[in-house]
Point group: C2
Chain length 465, copies 2
């Protein structure tokens, strides 16, 4: 362990040039020693930004010059998807050497982010045992116990004695130290979990005692398909740092750590956020290829433009009213935008409460009631504001009643939809993060345009200037 001082986020080196410029120079000069020193000296917090500044070729050159252990440490500071981007394209043997230094769950995440053929090539040159572990882990879906767990844990047959275990621990002291092991799991003939032991209990017990005599039985465990919400709930009330994971037949297959669960939970919220703002797939980094990025955004935008055209067709049906009272055209985009704002607030709160386990699809009426109470206050406030602005501008009371009343009613509609739609989509097993926004804006736009223009049509004589 080394003394560690937090340095400010400057990404500039001794002589004032940013590290990537020094690195450019060292790479051009082919000066491997300089590259090694630069990568050794850079603070962890500045590694992601450094790689964001390097071209793919430069990243590969840099990684190839480093010890795989050092390269692995650097990759740990990057988000998994970005680490996969950076590593992909290296000689498979070099990539395998780096990937092997990472914890098994990170290995699996990075391998599934590779193009399939490249992942195969890397797996083929990884140590067979690591490759088998990593491949098995990639089978479990993301954000379940199987997808989050690590396979670095110690398990021993219940036929062994304390002495057997201590001998094994001593023989592999260095290997095990890297993983900060605290518990030892005891398994039966079919590798099924039978009990758990703390290291310190082993140390205090006489060597010829069988494990089965001192192990703690009836331990907490998690099924391999437990979802991220179940994992999050589990750790919220238990002081454990890690918990064993078992297959349906009772076989011990891994250990889930609290910190990994907390991280996966945060990742899901981040991914939902990106989806809600129109990034299909829930992830975009600007280091990804332009066409991938353009495609993920465009697939969302093109659906939205069609929905927008549908909504705007309501306006087309009222061209006569619009021509007669052209100032209404000023208010249409305002009604559309403000209803969207109110509805998105309700969506955001519903998504948050779903994620925290505070609500479920069955709570739709309670949520609706809660939205209507807040919505009523805000509907009146917004209606009065826009009605007042309309009156100040045009001096026509009926006009201000038309736009004020339309926004009031549409605000009530939009908070209702915003609160309810995420629950309904979740109930239908659809992804609320991706679909709630477009459904909301399309319906509230259509309805908002209809309210303004139909009210205006009804009182047309009093609106004419």
């Amino acid at each position: 362990m080394l003394a560690h001082g937090m340095s400010p986020h400057s990404l500039s080196s001794r002589d004032g040039s940013p590290t990537w410029e020094l690195l450019h120079e060292a790479l051009e000069a082919g000066d491997a020693d300089a590259v090694r020193v630069l990568m050794q000296e850079i603070p962890d917090g500045e590694v992601p930004r450094l790689f964001a500044h390097l071209s793919s070729a430069e990243s590969h050159q840099t990684l190839a010059m480093l010890d795989p252990e050092v390269a692995g440490e650097l990759m740990k500071t990057l988000p998994d998807a970005f680490a996969a981007d950076v590593v992909e394209g290296l000689e498979p043997a070099e990539a395998a050497a780096i990937v092997t230094t990472l914890p098994s769950n990170t290995q699996a995440d990075i391998l599934s982010d590779f193009e399939p053929e490249y992942a195969e090539a890397v797996l083929a040159v990884m140590p067979p045992e690591d490759a088998a572990d990593a491949e098995r882990l990639t089978q479990y879906s993301d954000r379940t116990a199987g997808g989050v767990m690590i396979t670095e844990y110690l398990s021993y047959s219940d036929q062994l004695t304390v002495g057997d275990v201590l001998a094994d621990l001593r023989a592999h002291r260095e290997d095990y130290q890297r993983h900060d092991v605290q518990y030892v799991y005891v398994t039966g003939d079919r590798a099924e979990l039978k009990g758990v032991l703390r290291l310190r209990d082993l140390v205090l017990t006489s060597p010829n005692v069988p494990l089965r005599q001192i192990m703690v039985t009836g331990t907490d465990f998690l099924p391999v398909d437990a979802d991220i919400d179940a994992l999050h709930d589990f750790f919220s009330t238990r002081p454990y740092r890690g918990v064993p994971v078992v297959e349906a037949d009772g076989r011990l297959v891994g250990v889930v750590r609290h910190a990994d669960v907390a991280e996966a939970f945060g990742e899901r919220e981040a991914s939902d956020h990106l989806k809600a703002l129109g990034i299909v797939g829930g992830e975009e980094l600007r280091t990804m290829p332009v066409f991938t990025r353009a495609w993920r955004r465009l697939s969302w935008l093109s659906i939205n433009i069609v929905l927008n055209l549908v909504a705007a067709s309501v306006i087309a049906a009222y061209q006569e009213t619009l021509t007669a009272v052209i100032v209404l055209a000023v208010f249409l985009p305002i009604i559309s935008d403000m209803s969207g704002c109110s509805g998105n607030q309700a969506i955001a709160v519903s998504m948050r409460e779903l994620s925290l386990g505070l609500i479920q699809p069955a709570d739709v009426f309670r949520v609706w009631g809660k939205e209507l109470s807040v919505g009523a206050i805000n509907a009146v406030a917004l209606g009065v504001l826009i009605g007042g602005a309309a009156f100040l501008w045009q001096g026509n009371l009926m006009l201000s009643v038309v736009v004020g009343l339309a926004l009031m009613l549409n605000t009530l509609l939009s908070v209702s939809l915003g609160g309810i739609v995420p629950l309904a989509l979740r109930g239908l097993k659809l992804d609320p993060a991706l679909a709630s926004g477009p459904i909301l804006t399309t319906v509230t736009d259509m309805c908002g345009f209809f309210l303004v223009l139909s009210f205006a049509t009804a009182v047309l004589p009093s609106l004419g200037n």
Copy 2:
């Protein structure tokens, strides 16, 4: 430890009624035993939803009937702000008993979420040592090492021997077990951190050896004001579960745990998401009072409506053109909405990359370039789509060129702004989550309306039907 099976998220009890209905009945009947049994049997994952269904009075009745330890376990399953809401209003002595069972960082979070007078009342009846710890922790800002750390750690003077420590550990065995202690910290005269010891090393050493002889020195530590990004970076490359935190003068004041850092990091992203969608303060739960919720939403909406009026004033300046070509009114909300969509995608990616440390304000030109390349593809695609739709509908080529070209140019503007504005706000030490959206939509609305209407004005003769 108990065997633990994950139950499905049903929140229904043996006879099919949801737990809260059974609880209503038990509370009405004043049947404390039934309440205790119900709260014992409910799976952790269903506790948040249960409390979301209870009125404040019912929550207080329930908590008062439970053992403080049990009530504390229930509160641990709730988000801190919600736990504070649920507990607030209990008799201060009852609240203090529950709060005291929680880890010190949760105590501090909940106390700062109480109304100040209520927090004082609770602190006054907490055990003096706990109260002092909790009060000290509330001084540190959220999402720093000081705000995230716990004060439950073991530290001993470097004057002591191994035997002294083992005697203390034995004497307080029960207390310490609750906290899953693995390390012991060694401090000097002024409580300054001198070294660290693993429990298992203590057990294997002869009792009369002084701590200073076997402690590991030069340990990693974190300053009390390290921010959440620094904490996140720190743990991303180190296998530690916890790290000591020291004041500027070297005094040991707490321990930061990896899982708490991962959780705080996720919380910040969730809070930014709520802000970005218009929840001022970054948190709203529907269990909060209606006026608090309405106010947080309205303060954002009222700014937006003013900005919307400003943007729409551009339309007002072109009433003549609009009257001449009324179909333009159909396209104005579409241009506004689609530019908002494109820009929000860019904002979402910039916020994500800022949070991951991939970009900083100084990277503004690189980000702009990356946005322009994706933006160019999407601008052409969207321009052609809307131009095509306009042509199909009206059969007027010039009209389709006007709206297509306007949307193209405005898409380029909106992705540029969306990419850059969060960086600029961060550079100015303003909160990009809250302000990016309104700035984007106001500017792109104004510019979009101006482009459509000024192009239309320029070619007005060819647009007339």
